[in-house]
């Protein structure tokens, strides 16, 4: 802790013998406003007009919290936020301890409600805590050149930083562009019943053999590994593509049946007016077709 004399000194800036007052934030003449503001935030000292009956107080201390809510005038000669200052006799230097409602603030506050708003050049950030409604609202608005961003950075040396949201109800994410989730290890979504038993899960994983896994209580699963993309329906034993109006053909079984059919057809004769016909005479043509039966085997897909 600093000694108070170190902070304030004992000569100070004259407060014209008043113990407190209400003044306004000002900007000194002949000074670059932006540089001045930077200096204010860095030093924690500000210039104010001391109010009726007082002159200007330059370079006086301001409470850090109050400083966060200060609005500066746009040019020298104008008034910024109204502030409350007090004068500590020993030090004889006014200190800004609070800001009052600024004329241009548009957020009306009520009991059990706290709101912080900052706006400049079309950019706005607004943090509203409303206990009556049990609601916290964070509004962020960018202008034509800024994007409007909300950024949470969490880091820990052990790499186990956490960010947890627990909602007894809905969590809604709505965007007009993309939702992108990036993880170096795993992205998992799990749905459980009221007892916490998993009924459906979706998992993207860079560590496991399966990079993508979907599983549910019905025995359905989609598992993507380096070797294959596997779709299972162990319980229902039914996988439909589209409306599933027709069954998928089992190629090996079909080939086997076609071989049997061709063997039988090879021996087939047909009744004619003069007795049964002979067997087919274009055997070579049939053989050529039969030799191509395995051409209809899919090299990509297998099924049971």
């Amino acid at each position: 802790m600093h000694d108070e004399d170190e902070i304030l000194g004992i000569k100070g800036i004259t407060a014209e013998n008043a113990s407190a007052g209400v003044g306004f934030v000002i900007v000194p003449e002949n000074i670059d406003i932006d540089l001045y503001k930077e200096d204010v935030y860095r030093s924690g000292r500000i210039s104010i007009y001391g109010g009726y009956g007082h002159s200007n107080f330059y370079n006086i201390l301001i409470d850090r919290e109050a400083l966060q809510r200060v609005a500066f005038p746009e040019k020298a000669g104008d008034m910024g936020s109204p502030v409350v200052w007090i004068n500590i006799p020993k030090h004889n230097e006014p200190i800004v301890i609070a800001t009052l409602k600024y004329d241009e603030d548009f957020n009306s506050l009520s009991e059990f409600r706290s709101r912080t708003t900052r706006e400049t050049e079309g950019n706005l950030v607004d943090f509203d805590l409303d206990a009556k409604k049990g609601k916290v609202t964070l509004n962020i608005v960018g202008n034509d050149t800024t994007n409007g961003e909300f950024e949470v950075n969490i880091n820990s040396r052990n790499g186990k930083g956490g960010f947890k949201i627990v909602v007894n109800g809905k969590l809604i994410e709505k965007v007009t562009d993309s939702i992108i989730k990036i993880s170096e290890k795993q992205i998992a979504n799990v749905v459980t019943d009221k007892k916490g038993v998993i009924v459906a899960s979706f998992d993207l994983n860079s560590q496991e053999e399966s990079r993508f896994t979907y599983e549910d209580e019905f025995g359905n699963a989609v598992i993507a590994t380096e070797e294959k993309f596997n779709i299972r329906a162990d319980k229902s034993s039914k996988i439909d593509f589209g409306d599933g109006a027709e069954p998928v053909v089992l190629a090996k079984t079909l080939k086997s049946l076609l071989d049997e059919y061709d063997d039988a057809f090879k021996k087939a004769t047909f009744p004619t007016p003069m007795g049964p016909s002979g067997t087919r005479m274009n055997e070579q043509e049939f053989k050529k077709v039969r030799d191509k039966f395995e051409d209809f085997f899919s090299k990509l897909t297998n099924t049971d």
Partner: protein
């Protein structure tokens, strides 16, 4: 002499792979139109009374049967085939007077031949042998109703 057994054997040569003398199915319809007139000729060549009309009958039969190749209708097939054997038989009959001493006038069977029962049986799936037997029975029975009249004595004999 007319021989039903000979006719059965001739037919089975071309339609019955289980027959020891089977020579193979005619591979085309055109070949089939040549085979059947040969079957007729082989059956009728030794008919009594003798005739010189078989070769001409064979030609007529071939021309008729060729028409089957451009028509798959079953009823038309029967009609054409019936016409083929009928015209063949007419030539057999007319060839009898040509045999020296030119005294026998051949007269074809008086009633039209009805081959439909044989062909219907074929379509119903009888064996080649059974078809040959049914067909030969109809033809042989019908042939034996043909006659020849001695133009000097008026004596009539049945074909045999």
């Amino acid at each position: 002499m007319l021989s039903k057994e000979l006719l059965i054997g001739e037919i089975r040569k071309y339609n019955d792979p289980y027959y020891e003398s089977f020579v193979g199915y005619p591979k085309t319809c055109q070949l089939s139109s040549e085979v059947w007139p040969i079957v007729f000729s082989t059956y009728a060549i030794d008919i009594v009374p003798q005739t010189l009309g078989v070769p001409q009958g064979e030609i007529l039969a071939r021309l008729n049967i060729l028409q089957i190749c451009s028509n798959n209708d079953y009823d038309i097939f029967i009609e054409i085939f019936t016409r083929a054997i009928t015209q063949f038989t007419q030539m057999v009959a007319s060839g009898m007077i040509m045999v020296f001493p030119h005294r026998l006038q051949g007269i074809p069977p008086p009633t039209p031949i009805n081959l439909r029962p044989a062909f219907d049986a074929g379509m119903a799936g009888v064996t080649a042998k059974e078809f040959a037997e049914i067909f030969a029975e109809i033809v042989d029975t019908w042939y034996r109703t043909g006659t020849a009249v001695n133009i000097d004595t008026g004596i009539t004999v049945f074909w045999s």
